[in-house]
Amino acid sequence: MRLSRAVFVPVLLAVLGAEAGAQSPSYRAPRTADGKPSLDGIWQAINTANWDLEPHAARPGPLVPLGAAGAVPAGQGVVKGGEIPYQPWALAKRQEHRQNWLALDPEVRCYLPGVPRATYMPFPFRIIQGADTIIVAYEYASAVRTIAMTGAGDPPADAWMGWSQGRWEGETLVVDVRGFTDRTWFDRAGNFHSEALRVVERYTRTGPDAIQYEATIEDPKVFTRPWTIVMPLYRRLEPDVQLLEFKCVEFVEELMYGHLKKGAPR
Protein backbone atom coordinates (compact mmCIF):
# COMPACT_ATOMS: atom_id res chain seq x y z
CA MET A 1 0.00 0.00 0.00
CA ARG A 2 1.23 3.42 -0.88
CA LEU A 3 0.97 6.12 1.74
CA SER A 4 0.73 9.66 0.46
CA ARG A 5 3.33 11.97 1.96
CA ALA A 6 0.61 14.09 3.57
CA VAL A 7 -0.41 11.09 5.65
CA PHE A 8 3.08 9.75 6.15
CA VAL A 9 4.56 12.90 7.71
CA PRO A 10 2.03 13.28 10.55
CA VAL A 11 2.30 9.56 11.30
CA LEU A 12 6.09 9.84 11.44
CA LEU A 13 5.86 12.88 13.73
CA ALA A 14 3.44 11.05 16.00
CA VAL A 15 5.84 8.10 16.24
CA LEU A 16 8.82 10.38 16.99
CA GLY A 17 6.77 12.27 19.54
CA ALA A 18 5.75 9.08 21.27
CA GLU A 19 9.39 7.99 21.37
CA ALA A 20 10.56 11.25 22.90
CA GLY A 21 7.82 11.12 25.50
CA ALA A 22 8.59 7.48 26.23
CA GLN A 23 12.21 8.07 27.31
CA SER A 24 11.73 7.25 30.97
CA PRO A 25 8.02 7.15 31.59
CA SER A 26 8.50 5.77 35.07
CA TYR A 27 10.90 8.42 36.39
CA ARG A 28 9.40 10.69 38.99
CA ALA A 29 11.52 13.75 39.78
CA PRO A 30 12.23 14.82 43.36
CA ARG A 31 9.76 17.48 44.52
CA THR A 32 10.26 21.11 45.51
CA ALA A 33 8.80 22.46 48.75
CA ASP A 34 5.55 23.25 46.90
CA GLY A 35 5.31 19.74 45.45
CA LYS A 36 6.43 20.41 41.87
CA PRO A 37 9.00 18.33 39.96
CA SER A 38 12.39 19.87 40.77
CA LEU A 39 14.51 21.19 37.91
CA ASP A 40 16.77 23.03 40.31
CA GLY A 41 20.47 22.78 39.56
CA ILE A 42 23.24 23.52 37.08
CA TRP A 43 22.70 22.00 33.63
CA GLN A 44 24.49 21.94 30.31
CA ALA A 45 23.93 20.56 26.84
CA ILE A 46 26.66 18.33 25.41
CA ASN A 47 26.27 18.55 21.66
CA THR A 48 27.18 20.72 18.69
CA ALA A 49 23.79 22.41 18.31
CA ASN A 50 25.33 25.84 18.81
CA TRP A 51 27.49 25.15 15.75
CA ASP A 52 24.57 23.98 13.66
CA LEU A 53 21.13 22.67 14.61
CA GLU A 54 21.06 20.51 11.48
CA PRO A 55 23.20 17.43 10.79
CA HIS A 56 26.67 18.55 9.71
CA ALA A 57 30.12 17.12 8.97
CA ALA A 58 33.25 18.48 10.63
CA ARG A 59 34.81 21.43 8.83
CA PRO A 60 37.72 23.83 9.24
CA GLY A 61 37.11 27.00 11.19
CA PRO A 62 37.46 30.49 9.67
CA LEU A 63 40.65 31.46 11.53
CA VAL A 64 43.78 29.75 10.16
CA PRO A 65 45.99 30.36 13.24
CA LEU A 66 43.58 28.41 15.44
CA GLY A 67 44.15 25.19 13.45
CA ALA A 68 42.44 22.15 14.92
CA ALA A 69 41.48 24.15 18.03
CA GLY A 70 39.26 26.35 15.87
CA ALA A 71 37.75 23.61 13.68
CA VAL A 72 34.04 22.79 13.79
CA PRO A 73 33.11 19.37 15.20
CA ALA A 74 30.56 17.20 13.40
CA GLY A 75 27.08 16.66 14.80
CA GLN A 76 24.02 14.53 14.09
CA GLY A 77 21.72 17.49 14.54
CA VAL A 78 18.92 18.15 17.02
CA VAL A 79 16.03 18.99 14.67
CA LYS A 80 13.28 16.38 14.62
CA GLY A 81 13.16 15.17 11.03
CA GLY A 82 16.64 16.62 10.31
CA GLU A 83 16.04 19.86 8.44
CA ILE A 84 14.55 23.23 9.31
CA PRO A 85 11.49 23.93 7.10
CA TYR A 86 12.48 27.33 5.73
CA GLN A 87 10.45 29.33 3.25
CA PRO A 88 12.55 29.70 0.05
CA TRP A 89 13.53 33.34 0.65
CA ALA A 90 14.53 32.53 4.22
CA LEU A 91 16.69 29.59 3.15
CA ALA A 92 18.58 31.96 0.84
CA LYS A 93 18.98 34.41 3.74
CA ARG A 94 20.30 31.62 5.99
CA GLN A 95 22.94 30.87 3.34
CA GLU A 96 23.95 34.56 3.28
CA HIS A 97 24.30 34.49 7.06
CA ARG A 98 26.45 31.40 6.79
CA GLN A 99 28.79 33.05 4.28
CA ASN A 100 29.24 36.02 6.63
CA TRP A 101 29.15 34.24 9.97
CA LEU A 102 31.80 36.24 11.82
CA ALA A 103 30.40 39.58 10.70
CA LEU A 104 26.78 38.76 11.46
CA ASP A 105 26.43 36.25 14.33
CA PRO A 106 25.21 38.13 17.44
CA GLU A 107 27.24 35.72 19.61
CA VAL A 108 30.48 37.12 18.15
CA ARG A 109 29.51 40.52 19.60
CA CYS A 110 28.50 39.14 23.00
CA TYR A 111 24.84 39.94 22.46
CA LEU A 112 22.16 38.17 24.49
CA PRO A 113 21.64 34.75 22.88
CA GLY A 114 17.84 34.45 22.83
CA VAL A 115 15.82 31.29 23.35
CA PRO A 116 16.35 28.42 22.74
CA ARG A 117 20.00 29.17 21.83
CA ALA A 118 20.89 30.08 25.42
CA THR A 119 20.08 26.50 26.43
CA TYR A 120 22.66 24.77 24.21
CA MET A 121 25.52 27.25 24.15
CA PRO A 122 28.74 25.69 25.43
CA PHE A 123 28.20 27.12 28.91
CA PRO A 124 26.32 25.89 31.97
CA PHE A 125 23.12 27.52 33.17
CA ARG A 126 21.32 27.39 36.47
CA ILE A 127 17.62 26.90 37.12
CA ILE A 128 16.52 28.53 40.38
CA GLN A 129 13.04 27.20 40.94
CA GLY A 130 10.84 29.40 43.06
CA ALA A 131 7.14 28.69 43.40
CA ASP A 132 5.85 31.71 41.43
CA THR A 133 9.00 32.58 39.53
CA ILE A 134 11.69 30.42 38.01
CA ILE A 135 14.94 32.24 37.24
CA VAL A 136 17.11 30.78 34.51
CA ALA A 137 20.62 32.21 34.81
CA TYR A 138 23.03 31.51 31.96
CA GLU A 139 26.80 31.76 32.36
CA TYR A 140 27.22 33.21 28.86
CA ALA A 141 27.03 37.03 29.02
CA SER A 142 25.24 36.88 32.41
CA ALA A 143 22.10 36.34 30.32
CA VAL A 144 18.97 35.72 32.36
CA ARG A 145 15.25 35.35 32.06
CA THR A 146 12.45 34.85 34.52
CA ILE A 147 9.63 32.42 33.92
CA ALA A 148 6.40 33.64 35.51
CA MET A 149 4.32 30.67 36.66
CA THR A 150 1.21 32.82 37.00
CA GLY A 151 -0.04 35.73 34.93
CA ALA A 152 2.91 36.86 32.83
CA GLY A 153 0.42 38.59 30.55
CA ASP A 154 1.32 39.89 27.12
CA PRO A 155 4.93 40.84 26.41
CA PRO A 156 5.31 44.52 27.36
CA ALA A 157 8.07 45.06 24.77
CA ASP A 158 10.31 43.04 22.48
CA ALA A 159 13.18 41.41 24.32
CA TRP A 160 16.29 39.47 23.33
CA MET A 161 15.42 36.71 25.80
CA GLY A 162 11.66 36.95 25.18
CA TRP A 163 8.84 36.96 27.71
CA SER A 164 8.25 33.61 29.40
CA GLN A 165 5.05 32.13 30.82
CA GLY A 166 5.39 28.73 32.50
CA ARG A 167 2.96 25.99 33.48
CA TRP A 168 3.18 22.41 34.71
CA GLU A 169 1.87 19.51 32.64
CA GLY A 170 2.39 16.56 34.96
CA GLU A 171 6.14 15.98 35.17
CA THR A 172 6.89 18.59 32.50
CA LEU A 173 7.58 22.31 32.79
CA VAL A 174 6.10 23.92 29.68
CA VAL A 175 7.30 27.45 28.89
CA ASP A 176 5.62 29.61 26.29
CA VAL A 177 8.06 32.29 25.15
CA ARG A 178 6.98 35.23 23.00
CA GLY A 179 7.88 38.91 22.60
CA PHE A 180 11.22 38.34 20.85
CA THR A 181 13.32 40.75 18.81
CA ASP A 182 14.38 39.61 15.34
CA ARG A 183 18.04 40.04 16.23
CA THR A 184 19.03 36.69 17.71
CA TRP A 185 20.12 33.57 15.83
CA PHE A 186 19.69 29.89 16.64
CA ASP A 187 23.31 28.88 16.01
CA ARG A 188 26.62 29.74 14.35
CA ALA A 189 25.31 28.35 11.05
CA GLY A 190 23.09 31.36 10.38
CA ASN A 191 19.76 29.80 11.35
CA PHE A 192 17.42 32.63 12.24
CA HIS A 193 13.87 33.85 12.85
CA SER A 194 11.78 37.00 12.74
CA GLU A 195 10.12 38.97 15.56
CA ALA A 196 7.09 36.72 15.06
CA LEU A 197 8.98 33.90 16.79
CA ARG A 198 7.19 31.85 19.41
CA VAL A 199 9.01 29.09 21.27
CA VAL A 200 7.30 26.47 23.40
CA GLU A 201 9.82 24.68 25.59
CA ARG A 202 9.31 21.45 27.49
CA TYR A 203 11.62 20.46 30.36
CA THR A 204 11.13 16.90 31.66
CA ARG A 205 13.38 15.14 34.17
CA THR A 206 14.33 11.69 32.84
CA GLY A 207 16.67 10.70 35.66
CA PRO A 208 18.57 12.07 38.65
CA ASP A 209 21.03 13.89 36.41
CA ALA A 210 19.20 14.53 33.14
CA ILE A 211 16.46 16.68 31.64
CA GLN A 212 14.86 15.98 28.29
CA TYR A 213 14.60 19.38 26.56
CA GLU A 214 12.29 20.06 23.65
CA ALA A 215 11.56 23.37 21.97
CA THR A 216 8.95 23.85 19.28
CA ILE A 217 9.67 26.83 17.08
CA GLU A 218 6.90 28.67 15.31
CA ASP A 219 7.46 31.64 13.00
CA PRO A 220 5.06 31.88 10.06
CA LYS A 221 7.13 34.66 8.50
CA VAL A 222 10.21 32.43 8.12
CA PHE A 223 9.17 28.75 8.23
CA THR A 224 6.56 26.70 6.37
CA ARG A 225 5.46 24.94 9.58
CA PRO A 226 6.42 24.66 13.26
CA TRP A 227 9.47 22.49 13.97
CA THR A 228 11.01 20.98 17.05
CA ILE A 229 14.46 20.50 18.49
CA VAL A 230 15.14 17.92 21.16
CA MET A 231 18.19 17.16 23.28
CA PRO A 232 19.13 15.96 26.74
CA LEU A 233 20.56 18.38 29.28
CA TYR A 234 23.04 17.01 31.78
CA ARG A 235 23.58 17.96 35.39
CA ARG A 236 27.03 19.35 36.19
CA LEU A 237 28.20 16.95 38.86
CA GLU A 238 31.46 18.49 40.02
CA PRO A 239 31.45 19.09 43.77
CA ASP A 240 30.94 22.80 44.60
CA VAL A 241 30.28 23.61 40.93
CA GLN A 242 28.88 27.09 40.43
CA LEU A 243 28.27 29.48 37.56
CA LEU A 244 31.30 31.68 36.95
CA GLU A 245 31.44 35.05 35.25
CA PHE A 246 31.61 35.20 31.48
CA LYS A 247 30.97 38.91 31.04
CA CYS A 248 32.11 38.92 27.44
CA VAL A 249 31.54 42.62 26.66
CA GLU A 250 35.15 43.33 27.60
CA PHE A 251 36.27 40.60 25.16
CA VAL A 252 34.59 42.27 22.17
CA GLU A 253 35.38 45.94 22.74
CA GLU A 254 38.56 45.84 20.63
CA LEU A 255 36.55 44.18 17.85
CA MET A 256 33.67 46.65 18.05
CA TYR A 257 35.33 49.92 19.04
CA GLY A 258 39.03 49.40 18.22
CA HIS A 259 38.84 51.77 15.25
CA LEU A 260 37.73 54.56 17.62
CA LYS A 261 40.70 54.31 19.99
CA LYS A 262 43.09 57.25 20.14
CA GLY A 263 45.88 56.71 17.61
CA ALA A 264 44.03 53.93 15.78
CA PRO A 265 44.60 53.92 12.01
CA ARG A 266 41.70 55.80 10.43
Binding site: A33, I135, V144, A159, L244, K247, Y257
Partner: protein, 333 residues
Protein backbone atom coordinates in the same frame (compact mmCIF):
# COMPACT_ATOMS: atom_id res chain seq x y z
CA UNK B 1 19.77 51.12 25.36
CA UNK B 2 16.65 49.55 26.70
CA UNK B 3 16.17 51.74 29.71
CA UNK B 4 12.80 50.37 30.62
CA UNK B 5 10.96 51.71 33.62
CA UNK B 6 8.97 49.25 35.64
CA UNK B 7 7.72 51.33 38.46
CA UNK B 8 7.15 54.76 37.06
CA UNK B 9 3.54 54.90 38.10
CA UNK B 10 4.42 53.89 41.62
CA UNK B 11 7.09 56.60 41.59
CA UNK B 12 4.56 59.23 40.58
CA UNK B 13 2.20 58.13 43.31
CA UNK B 14 5.01 58.50 45.82
CA UNK B 15 5.82 61.93 44.41
CA UNK B 16 2.24 63.08 44.79
CA UNK B 17 2.23 61.73 48.31
CA UNK B 18 5.27 63.87 49.06
CA UNK B 19 3.79 66.99 47.52
CA UNK B 20 0.48 66.50 49.27
CA UNK B 21 2.06 67.29 52.57
CA UNK B 22 4.94 66.62 54.85
CA UNK B 23 3.00 64.13 56.93
CA UNK B 24 2.36 62.06 53.80
CA UNK B 25 6.08 62.13 52.96
CA UNK B 26 6.89 59.37 55.43
CA UNK B 27 8.57 56.48 53.66
CA UNK B 28 6.94 53.08 53.98
CA UNK B 29 9.69 51.90 56.31
CA UNK B 30 8.87 54.63 58.81
CA UNK B 31 8.35 51.94 61.43
CA UNK B 32 12.06 51.18 61.24
CA UNK B 33 13.95 54.46 61.65
CA UNK B 34 17.51 54.06 60.45
CA UNK B 35 16.54 50.53 59.57
CA UNK B 36 16.39 49.18 63.10
CA UNK B 37 13.99 46.37 63.80
CA UNK B 38 10.96 47.71 65.63
CA UNK B 39 10.28 46.12 69.00
CA UNK B 40 7.54 43.51 69.32
CA UNK B 41 4.78 42.65 66.81
CA UNK B 42 6.62 41.70 63.62
CA UNK B 43 7.62 38.11 63.00
CA UNK B 44 9.65 37.62 59.84
CA UNK B 45 8.15 34.98 57.51
CA UNK B 46 9.96 31.72 56.86
CA UNK B 47 10.23 29.54 53.77
CA UNK B 48 8.65 26.05 53.96
CA UNK B 49 12.15 24.68 54.71
CA UNK B 50 12.65 27.12 57.59
CA UNK B 51 14.91 29.89 56.26
CA UNK B 52 13.95 33.57 56.65
CA UNK B 53 11.92 34.47 53.55
CA UNK B 54 13.26 37.42 51.56
CA UNK B 55 11.54 36.48 48.31
CA UNK B 56 9.77 38.92 46.06
CA UNK B 57 10.26 42.01 43.95
CA UNK B 58 12.03 44.90 45.63
CA UNK B 59 13.10 48.42 44.74
CA UNK B 60 15.59 50.68 46.51
CA UNK B 61 14.82 53.89 44.65
CA UNK B 62 15.33 56.99 46.76
CA UNK B 63 16.25 60.65 46.51
CA UNK B 64 18.67 60.22 49.40
CA UNK B 65 22.24 60.38 48.06
CA UNK B 66 24.89 57.83 48.97
CA UNK B 67 27.11 60.59 50.38
CA UNK B 68 25.99 63.56 52.45
CA UNK B 69 26.02 66.76 50.37
CA UNK B 70 28.59 69.36 51.50
CA UNK B 71 25.95 71.95 52.37
CA UNK B 72 24.43 69.49 54.87
CA UNK B 73 27.79 68.62 56.41
CA UNK B 74 26.52 68.96 59.96
CA UNK B 75 23.02 67.59 59.41
CA UNK B 76 22.35 63.88 59.84
CA UNK B 77 18.64 64.28 59.13
CA UNK B 78 16.18 66.62 57.47
CA UNK B 79 12.83 67.78 58.80
CA UNK B 80 9.78 66.35 57.04
CA UNK B 81 9.24 69.64 55.23
CA UNK B 82 12.86 69.80 54.09
CA UNK B 83 12.63 66.21 52.86
CA UNK B 84 9.51 67.02 50.83
CA UNK B 85 11.28 70.01 49.29
CA UNK B 86 14.33 67.89 48.39
CA UNK B 87 12.11 65.25 46.79
CA UNK B 88 10.31 67.85 44.71
CA UNK B 89 13.56 69.53 43.70
CA UNK B 90 15.23 66.26 42.67
CA UNK B 91 12.29 65.21 40.55
CA UNK B 92 11.60 68.60 38.95
CA UNK B 93 15.20 69.31 37.96
CA UNK B 94 15.12 66.36 35.57
CA UNK B 95 12.61 68.22 33.41
CA UNK B 96 14.63 71.42 33.19
CA UNK B 97 16.39 72.28 29.91
CA UNK B 98 20.09 71.32 29.98
CA UNK B 99 22.76 74.02 30.05
CA UNK B 100 24.05 75.21 26.66
CA UNK B 101 26.55 72.73 25.23
CA UNK B 102 25.14 69.88 27.30
CA UNK B 103 23.30 67.36 25.13
CA UNK B 104 20.97 66.61 28.05
CA UNK B 105 19.77 63.31 29.39
CA UNK B 106 16.54 61.55 30.25
CA UNK B 107 13.72 63.61 31.63
CA UNK B 108 11.52 62.71 34.57
CA UNK B 109 9.46 60.38 32.42
CA UNK B 110 12.44 58.01 32.37
CA UNK B 111 13.83 58.56 35.82
CA UNK B 112 12.35 57.20 38.98
CA UNK B 113 13.77 58.69 42.10
CA UNK B 114 11.34 57.72 44.85
CA UNK B 115 11.61 59.80 48.00
CA UNK B 116 13.85 60.43 50.99
CA UNK B 117 14.59 57.32 53.06
CA UNK B 118 12.95 56.82 56.41
CA UNK B 119 14.20 58.94 59.24
CA UNK B 120 14.96 61.62 56.61
CA UNK B 121 18.63 60.73 56.60
CA UNK B 122 20.85 63.03 54.53
CA UNK B 123 23.02 60.17 53.24
CA UNK B 124 22.77 56.43 52.73
CA UNK B 125 26.20 56.13 54.35
CA UNK B 126 25.76 55.92 58.14
CA UNK B 127 29.37 55.22 59.05
CA UNK B 128 31.67 57.15 59.15
CA UNK B 129 29.39 59.62 60.94
CA UNK B 130 30.07 62.37 58.40
CA UNK B 131 28.14 60.33 55.84
CA UNK B 132 31.00 60.35 53.32
CA UNK B 133 33.14 57.66 51.71
CA UNK B 134 36.36 57.79 53.76
CA UNK B 135 39.59 59.04 52.18
CA UNK B 136 41.60 56.67 50.00
CA UNK B 137 44.90 55.38 51.30
CA UNK B 138 48.04 57.09 49.89
CA UNK B 139 48.89 53.79 48.16
CA UNK B 140 45.49 53.70 46.42
CA UNK B 141 45.76 57.35 45.37
CA UNK B 142 49.17 56.67 43.88
CA UNK B 143 47.97 53.61 42.00
CA UNK B 144 44.94 55.45 40.62
CA UNK B 145 47.01 58.43 39.51
CA UNK B 146 49.57 56.12 37.87
CA UNK B 147 46.87 54.23 36.00
CA UNK B 148 45.44 57.49 34.63
CA UNK B 149 48.67 59.39 33.99
CA UNK B 150 48.85 60.83 30.49
CA UNK B 151 45.40 59.59 29.54
CA UNK B 152 42.53 61.66 28.24
CA UNK B 153 38.90 61.16 29.25
CA UNK B 154 38.15 58.86 26.32
CA UNK B 155 41.37 57.61 24.69
CA UNK B 156 39.85 54.14 24.87
CA UNK B 157 36.77 52.44 26.32
CA UNK B 158 38.97 51.58 29.28
CA UNK B 159 38.89 55.24 30.28
CA UNK B 160 35.11 54.97 30.72
CA UNK B 161 33.30 53.29 33.61
CA UNK B 162 32.24 49.65 33.67
CA UNK B 163 28.68 50.98 33.88
CA UNK B 164 28.98 53.00 30.64
CA UNK B 165 30.56 49.96 29.00
CA UNK B 166 27.53 47.86 30.01
CA UNK B 167 29.71 45.33 31.84
CA UNK B 168 28.33 45.67 35.36
CA UNK B 169 28.00 48.14 38.21
CA UNK B 170 30.01 45.69 40.28
CA UNK B 171 29.64 45.43 44.04
CA UNK B 172 28.52 47.20 46.06
CA UNK B 173 27.60 49.41 43.07
CA UNK B 174 24.84 47.14 41.78
CA UNK B 175 23.09 47.28 45.18
CA UNK B 176 23.09 51.10 45.35
CA UNK B 177 20.12 52.91 43.78
CA UNK B 178 20.78 54.72 40.52
CA UNK B 179 18.29 56.77 38.54
CA UNK B 180 16.13 54.05 37.02
CA UNK B 181 15.71 50.26 36.90
CA UNK B 182 16.74 49.88 40.55
CA UNK B 183 14.65 46.76 40.89
CA UNK B 184 15.60 43.41 42.35
CA UNK B 185 13.96 40.01 42.52
CA UNK B 186 14.90 37.51 45.20
CA UNK B 187 14.16 33.80 44.75
CA UNK B 188 15.24 31.24 47.34
CA UNK B 189 15.66 27.49 47.22
CA UNK B 190 17.11 25.32 49.96
CA UNK B 191 20.80 26.24 50.19
CA UNK B 192 20.81 29.24 47.87
CA UNK B 193 19.53 32.77 47.48
CA UNK B 194 19.35 34.32 44.01
CA UNK B 195 19.18 38.09 43.56
CA UNK B 196 18.24 39.20 40.08
CA UNK B 197 19.41 42.76 39.45
CA UNK B 198 17.50 44.56 36.71
CA UNK B 199 20.09 47.22 35.89
CA UNK B 200 22.47 45.81 33.20
CA UNK B 201 21.15 42.37 34.20
CA UNK B 202 23.11 40.39 36.77
CA UNK B 203 22.05 37.42 38.84
CA UNK B 204 23.85 36.93 42.11
CA UNK B 205 23.52 33.28 43.06
CA UNK B 206 24.60 33.09 46.69
CA UNK B 207 25.28 29.64 48.14
CA UNK B 208 24.11 29.38 51.74
CA UNK B 209 25.50 25.91 52.27
CA UNK B 210 28.83 26.43 53.96
CA UNK B 211 30.99 25.78 50.91
CA UNK B 212 34.36 27.55 50.71
CA UNK B 213 35.09 30.54 48.46
CA UNK B 214 36.42 30.05 44.94
CA UNK B 215 40.13 29.52 44.44
CA UNK B 216 41.94 32.89 44.68
CA UNK B 217 42.98 32.59 41.01
CA UNK B 218 39.36 33.18 40.03
CA UNK B 219 38.68 36.91 40.25
CA UNK B 220 35.36 38.33 39.13
CA UNK B 221 33.78 41.76 38.65
CA UNK B 222 31.00 40.70 41.05
CA UNK B 223 33.37 38.76 43.30
CA UNK B 224 32.34 35.47 44.87
CA UNK B 225 29.56 35.56 47.46
CA UNK B 226 28.83 33.19 50.35
CA UNK B 227 25.84 33.51 52.62
CA UNK B 228 24.87 32.43 56.11
CA UNK B 229 21.81 32.97 58.29
CA UNK B 230 22.17 34.85 61.55
CA UNK B 231 18.72 34.76 63.13
CA UNK B 232 16.43 36.52 60.65
CA UNK B 233 19.33 38.05 58.76
CA UNK B 234 21.06 36.85 55.61
CA UNK B 235 24.73 37.75 55.95
CA UNK B 236 26.67 37.68 52.67
CA UNK B 237 30.42 37.87 52.48
CA UNK B 238 31.97 38.56 49.09
CA UNK B 239 35.63 38.24 48.12
CA UNK B 240 37.62 37.32 44.96
CA UNK B 241 37.03 40.70 43.33
CA UNK B 242 38.82 41.51 40.10
CA UNK B 243 41.95 43.63 40.58
CA UNK B 244 40.84 45.49 37.45
CA UNK B 245 38.05 47.02 39.54
CA UNK B 246 40.68 49.70 40.18
CA UNK B 247 39.77 51.32 36.91
CA UNK B 248 36.05 51.73 37.20
CA UNK B 249 35.50 55.05 38.87
CA UNK B 250 33.93 55.69 42.18
CA UNK B 251 34.34 52.38 44.03
CA UNK B 252 38.05 52.01 43.69
CA UNK B 253 39.14 48.57 44.79
CA UNK B 254 42.39 46.79 44.25
CA UNK B 255 40.75 43.39 44.35
CA UNK B 256 41.31 43.31 48.09
CA UNK B 257 37.75 44.26 48.95
CA UNK B 258 35.85 42.16 51.46
CA UNK B 259 32.21 43.16 51.28
CA UNK B 260 29.79 42.18 54.04
CA UNK B 261 26.07 42.64 53.38
CA UNK B 262 23.12 42.07 55.67
CA UNK B 263 19.52 41.56 54.50
CA UNK B 264 16.79 41.60 57.17
CA UNK B 265 13.07 41.56 56.54
CA UNK B 266 11.86 44.14 59.08
CA UNK B 267 8.28 44.62 57.86
CA UNK B 268 6.01 42.87 55.33
CA UNK B 269 7.10 45.31 52.65
CA UNK B 270 10.60 46.26 53.75
CA UNK B 271 14.05 44.72 53.78
CA UNK B 272 16.69 46.50 55.81
CA UNK B 273 19.75 46.21 53.57
CA UNK B 274 23.16 47.33 54.69
CA UNK B 275 26.68 46.75 53.50
CA UNK B 276 30.13 47.37 54.91
CA UNK B 277 33.12 47.94 52.64
CA UNK B 278 36.25 46.55 54.26
CA UNK B 279 39.27 47.22 52.08
CA UNK B 280 42.27 48.52 54.05
CA UNK B 281 44.39 48.62 50.90
CA UNK B 282 42.02 51.18 49.39
CA UNK B 283 40.19 53.01 52.18
CA UNK B 284 41.59 54.50 55.36
CA UNK B 285 38.70 52.92 57.29
CA UNK B 286 35.69 50.64 56.65
CA UNK B 287 32.40 52.31 55.71
CA UNK B 288 28.75 51.29 55.91
CA UNK B 289 25.57 52.26 54.07
CA UNK B 290 21.97 51.44 54.99
CA UNK B 291 19.53 51.25 52.08
CA UNK B 292 15.92 50.19 52.59
CA UNK B 293 14.41 47.94 49.91
CA UNK B 294 10.65 48.24 49.41
CA UNK B 295 8.29 45.74 47.89
CA UNK B 296 7.09 46.50 44.38
CA UNK B 297 4.46 44.60 42.45
CA UNK B 298 5.81 45.10 38.94
CA UNK B 299 7.81 42.53 37.01
CA UNK B 300 11.42 43.00 36.09
CA UNK B 301 12.03 43.77 32.42
CA UNK B 302 14.96 42.86 30.25
CA UNK B 303 17.79 45.38 30.45
CA UNK B 304 19.65 44.73 27.20
CA UNK B 305 22.48 47.23 27.72
CA UNK B 306 25.46 46.30 25.55
CA UNK B 307 23.15 45.36 22.66
CA UNK B 308 22.15 49.01 22.23
CA UNK B 309 25.21 50.75 23.63
CA UNK B 310 25.60 53.84 21.45
CA UNK B 311 27.34 55.69 24.31
CA UNK B 312 30.78 54.17 23.94
CA UNK B 313 31.12 54.57 20.15
CA UNK B 314 29.50 58.02 20.47
CA UNK B 315 31.88 59.23 23.20
CA UNK B 316 35.01 57.79 21.58
CA UNK B 317 33.96 58.96 18.11
CA UNK B 318 33.20 62.46 19.45
CA UNK B 319 36.63 62.76 21.04
CA UNK B 320 38.37 61.55 17.88
CA UNK B 321 36.40 64.08 15.81
CA UNK B 322 37.33 66.88 18.24
CA UNK B 323 41.00 65.86 18.03
CA UNK B 324 40.90 65.85 14.22
CA UNK B 325 39.30 69.31 14.31
CA UNK B 326 42.01 70.60 16.66
CA UNK B 327 44.69 69.14 14.35
CA UNK B 328 43.17 71.04 11.42
CA UNK B 329 43.18 74.29 13.42
CA UNK B 330 46.88 73.82 14.17
CA UNK B 331 47.94 73.60 10.51
CA UNK B 332 45.94 76.69 9.53
CA UNK B 333 48.22 79.68 8.81
Amino acid sequence: MSFLITSRRAGLILLFACLAGAAAAQSPDAAAPGGDTPAGAWTAPRTPWGDPDLQGLWTNRTTTPLQRPAHLAHRETLTDIEAAIVDEEVTSRNDRAPAPGNPGTYNQFWWEMGSTVSGNRTSLIVDPPDGRVPPLTPKAVEAILASRAGRGPADSWEDRTLFERCITRGLPGAMIPGFYNHNYQIVQTPGQVAILIEMIHDVRIIPVDGRPHLHPAIRQWMGDSRGRWEGDTLVVETTNFSPKSRSHGFFESAGTLRLVERFTRVAPDTIDYRFTVDDPETYTRPWTAVIPMHRTDERIFEFACHEGNESIPGILGGHRAAEAEAEKEKVKP
